[in-house]
């Protein structure tokens, strides 16, 4: 049924990147450039306590000593960090207390994106936090979640209202000095989501954050922190879009997940930042650090990502399998068309005994795009009976694109079992002809075949997102054949 839905959505869209509009709303920005004053400005805007400001400043000072990494298989002109804006927020005065206080223009923007924020219109069972440029504009279903003891709010609010949790966990998975982009994020992050699920609570609904870049020349640095206490379960989804602009915009997010004993976190992403035009002009630079810590025994963290957007993607959602019997999973679809460059994969660090990990990566390259899977499976001496299964499949569409698979394996325990399988294939002419002969037009046929190729990963997504993801697969490959 997928392809028909895909086609219907494509027909409904009518253009290639339907999220490319801008919202005309009065913005407040930090002064251009990056200095201690910028960091202080952001912290003050958020009304942060002193400890948070200090945390940011220490990150800023470290960042000044760091150099941008260049090992990824991506190429781009040098980013001028002094010439960007690091904070932009709609001028709405105080933080809205309820949806009625949210600027109607913002609500309209999310309606256009297909994310209605009015609770009665929302998909049942999905609570949404909406982040517009640097601030969260609305979080829905707060009360219902509150009854279950689940905290789901903008991280800026969590810093003020739940400092004990934030201080305990922030930076505990991705340390301040982890890498160039994560350190930059630590200094200037503006908003993002915070989730805490208490002991033995199964979060009653899917949680979702919708990130939207709107302002020009502005970087987005969101920070997400999710904690599942002992025996808790939560499924979290994020979606991302941005306007079409000729300039490149920087997005450097950090996501930290903590799963305590017996807890499970399922984290899904549909990333559709503006990819640039067909000549490779514009698009988002997506430099993201995502890491989950299976801190307790028998905990589980599962990453699922559908990466279709961004001019450059540099992203390796990882798992630290610290607890014994913990499980890490990574399911990925990365599509690169035209001049997009993707260097993405995962790291599975096996530290505990009987830890297991599973990696399923589907890379699709079209146009002149370059798509790299880069992954690390590392087994610590203490990690007896660790097991990993990795499968990396690449699909090439046309003759000018590239697919690369770079798996690193480090095993320091003889009982470890690590399996790696990789394939590279092309959409065959006879497959296309078969579809055409049965009346399926070319672009729909490509979408059908690619959706089939990605099926194992698409099946991991929650229902609501699976439909959106299938449609995205079709759209992002438009014009790739013929």
């Amino acid at each position: 049924m997928a392809a028909v839905e895909t086609r219907e959505k494509i027909a409904a869209l009518g253009e290639k990147y339907k999220y490319g509009f801008t919202t005309d709303i009065e913005m407040e920005r930090a002064p251009r450039g990056l200095s201690e004053n910028t960091v202080r400005f952001i912290s003050a805007k958020k009304g942060e306590p002193e400890w948070m400001l200090e945390w940011r400043l220490s990150a800023y000072r470290r960042w000044r000593e760091m150099t941008e990494p260049n090992w990824a298989r991506v190429h781009y002109p040098k980013i001028d960090y002094e010439n960007a804006y690091y904070y932009a927020a709609p001028k709405t005065g105080a933080t809205p207390k309820s949806l009625d206080e949210v600027d109607p223009k913002l609500l309209e923007t999310y309606e256009k994106l297909g994310i209605p924020l009015h609770e009665q219109k929302l998909l049942a069972g999905v609570a949404v936090d909406a982040v517009f440029d640097s601030v969260s504009v609305a979080t829905t279903f707060k009360e219902k979640l509150g009854e279950a003891g689940v905290i789901f709010c903008p991280i800026s609010e969590a810093i003020r209202n739940h400092p004990e949790l934030v201080r305990k966990y922030l930076g505990s998975v991705v340390p301040v000095s982890d890498n160039f982009f994560a350190t930059l994020n630590s200094a200037v992050f503006s908003d993002g989501s915070f989730v805490y699920v208490p002991k033995d609570v199964r979060c009653p609904m899917e949680l979702s954050t919708y990130f939207r870049i709107n302002a020009s020349e502005t970087g987005q640095f969101e920070r997400t922190l999710i904690i599942a206490d002992e025996g808790a379960y939560v499924s979290y989804l994020e979606g991302c879009t941005a306007p079409k602009r000729d300039e490149n915009q920087l997005h450097a997010a950090v996501v930290e997940l903590v799963a305590l004993e017996g807890a499970e976190i399922k984290y899904s992403t549909v990333q559709n930042w503006y990819p640039g035009d067909e000549e490779g002009k514009g698009g988002i630079y997506n430099f993201v650090t995502k890491r989950g810590d299976c801190r307790g025994n028998r905990s589980k963290i599962s990453w699922t990502q559908v990466e279709t957007g961004s001019a450059i993607t540099w992203k390796y959602p990882s798992c630290i399998l610290r607890g014994d019997d913990s499980v890490g999973e990574f399911y990925s679809i990365a599509i690169a068309n035209h001049f997009q460059q993707a260097d993405t994969g995962t790291k599975m660090h096996h530290l505990g005994k009987n830890t297991r990990s599973r990696i399923i990566s589907k890379g699709i390259s079209a146009g002149r795009a370059q798509n790299t899977y880069r992954g690390l499976v590392s087994v610590h001496p203490r990690a007896a009976n660790a097991r990993n299964y990795t499968q990396c499949d690449s699909l090439l569409i046309g003759g000018e694109c590239g697919a690369h698979t770079i798996p690193y394996i480090e095993s320091r325990n003889k009982s470890a079992r690590i399996e790696h399988e990789a394939t590279t294939s092309k959409i065959a002419e006879d497959q296309l002809f078969y579809c055409l002969q049965r009346g399926i037009p070319q672009e729909e046929a490509v979408a059908l075949i690619v959706n089939g190729f990605c099926r194992e990963v698409l099946q991991q997504l929650p229902m609501e997102f699976a439909v959106e993801a299938q449609k995205l697969v079709g759209i992002s490959l438009e014009g790739s054949v013929g």
């Binding site: 049924m1 997928a2 392809a3 028909v4 086609r7 065959a428 002419e429 006879d430 497959q431 002809f433 078969y434 579809c435 055409l436 002969q437 049965r438 009346g439 399926i440 037009p441 070319q442 729909e444 059908l448 075949i449 959706n451 089939g452 190729f453 990605c454 099926r455 194992e456």
Partner: protein, 250 residues
């Protein structure tokens, strides 16, 4: 006249394969095209379906009076041309049922008809699946992936039944089938014979024609029809062999 092929010349990879083929088929008729390997049988079927790389350099194909030459394969399909393929392809990850629904609705959409919902498609598929012994389990598997030769051919005939084409071309549908599978497929084909439908059965061997009896038989050799006759011509071919028949015709 449903299908009228006039002086058709087709080139593949710069090599002329069909060299002035002419053929006419009326609605309600079944014609068999027989010929040795390399005579141009598959080239004819692909040229009729509009496959890329099969270049018509001369002549034309009229289908219900309309020139097909410039028409895309999917447009031909929507207009009722179906090609049961000699080697049905595998599409991993796409369930057979999903494929059937996508194809059926794409054709309906192209004809300006309303699309069927999943329940309607399922009902229609089930109606046709029984005769061809296509199981529910097969419909849930990825298209042709891990199917036996017989299963693949049965699924081709199921698609023919589902799409209800006006012109069905069966390219070596009998190849690779054991006798039981052959009978099953033949039964499926015979069930679809109707006064509104024309069929072109392309085959190397006579054995399929024991079960699917043609109105006319054409012998193809080196890109041209060299002999035509009734169903008895197939028997003669079987007895004498292609070489003799072609020699006699020359």
């Amino acid at each position: 006249m449903m299908l009228e092929i006039k002086n058709l010349h087709v080139t593949v990879d710069g090599k002329e394969i069909l060299k002035g083929l002419s053929l006419s088929v009326n609605a309600g008729e079944m014609h068999a095209i027989m010929g040795p390997n390399g005579s141009g049988k598959s080239t004819l079927s692909y040229a009729l379906a509009g496959r890329d790389g099969y270049e018509i350099t001369n002549g034309r194909i009229l289908y219900n009076g309309e020139d097909l030459t410039a028409m895309k394969p999917e447009e031909r399909a929507a207009k009722g041309i179906f090609l049961a393929m000699q080697y049905p392809v595998e599409i991993p990850g796409v369930t057979t049922m999903n494929f059937l629904k996508t194809a059926l609705n794409a054709q309906r959409r192209a004809r300006g008809e309303s699309e069927y919902d999943a329940v309607t498609v399922l009902k229609r598929v089930r109606e046709k699946a029984g005769l061809l012994k296509v199981s529910e389990e097969m419909l849930k598997r990825a298209l042709n992936v891990g199917f036996s030769g017989g299963e693949k051919k049965r699924l081709e005939i199921l698609q023919m039944a589902l799409f209800e084409p006006s012109l069905a071309i069966l390219d070596e549908t009998d190849s690779g089938l054991d006798i039981d599978a052959l009978k099953l497929v033949a039964e499926g084909v015979n069930a679809l014979r109707s006064p509104e439908r024309a069929m072109l059965v392309i085959t190397h061997y006579q054995r399929l024609l024991d079960y699917v009896v043609p109105d006319r038989v054409h012998v193809l050799s080196a890109g041209r029809i060299v002999r035509e006759g009734g169903k008895e011509l197939a028997k003669e071919l079987e007895a004498k062999g292609y070489e003799q028949i072609v020699k006699d015709a020359a």
